[in-house]
């Protein structure tokens, strides 16, 4: 696989791409392993952050600059912070290490194997494009093109996303309102 890759890239620019690819792949791969093996939840979050950042680097390498930026902005800067806050909110003591029990470990292994097999099948079935290295400067990947697509072919998805965001906001607002009511009740109880 590696040899094949090297053969397809001949120029010096290709070598640069290759080195960068392995750099970012190693970053996400190594931190993904660390993520799986680490027992501490917050450390896991940091490793997950590095994994996602590495994947963003690979997106960038493929010329999908917008996707890379969105990966960093939404997943690394938003979702992962929410996860960290969620962990801090729910767990009694975050310094407590997580040790999976035997059953959980087995279940995880089975699920991981199934996922790996599925992904491998999908990748092999898709077939890698022959001139993958030629993609980056392609105009198709430009932000402008994505914008035009969002307003034409993927318009429904664009608008539905807004609806989903609205639902999230309303749900969060409901949660907060319930909490405020609970607090007010608690406060009056305390006073009496």
């Amino acid at each position: 696989m590696l040899l094949l890759h090297v053969q397809t890239v001949g120029s010096s620019e290709g070598w640069v791409t290759l080195v960068l690819f392995y750099l970012f792949a190693a970053l996400s791969g190594v931190s993904a392993w660390a993520l799986v093996l680490s027992p501490n939840i917050i450390r896991m979050a940091v490793y997950l952050m590095l994994t996602l950042a590495g994947v963003a680097g690979i997106y960038f390498l493929l010329g999908a600059e917008l996707l890379a930026a969105v990966q960093l902005i939404v997943y690394v800067g938003g979702v992962l912070i929410l996860i960290i806050f969620g962990v801090m909110l729910t767990s009694r003591n975050p310094y407590l290490n997580v040790a999976p029990r035997g059953g959980e470990m087995a279940l995880g292994l089975v699920l991981a194997t199934v996922l790996a097999v599925l992904l491998a099948v999908a990748v092999l079935a898709a077939g890698l494009p022959e001139a993958a290295a030629a993609a980056p400067d392609d105009d198709r990947y430009a932000v402008r093109w994505i914008g035009a697509l969002l307003l034409s072919r993927h318009l429904i998805a664009f608008e539905v996303a807004a609806v989903i965001l609205l639902i999230v906001m309303i749900g969060a607002g409901y949660l907060v309102r319930r909490r405020i009511k609970a607090n007010q009740a608690g406060a009056t109880e305390g006073r009496s």
């Binding site: 390498l61 938003g78 402008r144 307003l151 807004a162 965001l165 609205l166 906001m169 609970a182 406060a187």
Partner: protein, 155 residues
């Protein structure tokens, strides 16, 4: 991908700078461990309990609302870039999107989600109010506990 190369170089050089500073200094720095240094710093007081304070839901809510706006921004960037090319269509199709977000925002405002209200669990002030009114200290103790700024009225 040449931009990525320069960004990566930039990143590696920056990281290298950090690492070199951390490691070279290791051989130059003094090491003087002391049991006092091992204690958690709390202005000289011995630390009470764990550092694990009760995490407030408000912080989580901020992160949740942030995520909503963040996704919205990420989705709307390509729209903004392409806006000049097809202003009419983009405005027509972007208005529902922005409108929904605005509706959500107004709902949040009216549901009180945007207020940074104090949680009801730890409310020391009320307990303190009772405390202060019931056990008003007298004599020297009262003097000692009074605000220094008002001490001028003491004969």
């Amino acid at each position: 991908m040449t931009p990525l190369l320069s960004i990566t170089l930039f990143l590696l050089v920056g990281l290298g700078f950090v690492l070199v500073n951390l490691t070279i200094g290791r051989f130059l720095r003094p090491r003087a461990p002391h049991p006092d240094k091992a204690s958690i710093y709390e202005c000289g007081e011995p630390s009470i309990g764990t550092n694990w304070v009760q995490f407030d839901l408000r912080f989580y809510m901020v992160a949740l609302f942030f995520l909503v706006f963040d996704v919205e921004l990420a989705l709307i960037y390509p729209w903004a870039v392409v806006f000049r090319d097809m202003p009419g269509v983009a405005l027509l199709l972007g208005l529902p999107f922005l409108g929904l977000i605005l509706i959500g925002y107004i709902y949040e405002w009216y549901s009180g989600s945007l207020e940074w209200v104090r949680s009801g669990i730890n409310r020391p002030d009320e307990a303190m109010a009772d405390d202060a009114s019931s056990q008003t200290p007298s004599g020297l103790a009262a003097l000692a506990r009074r605000d220094p700024e008002t001490l001028s009225d003491i004969p």
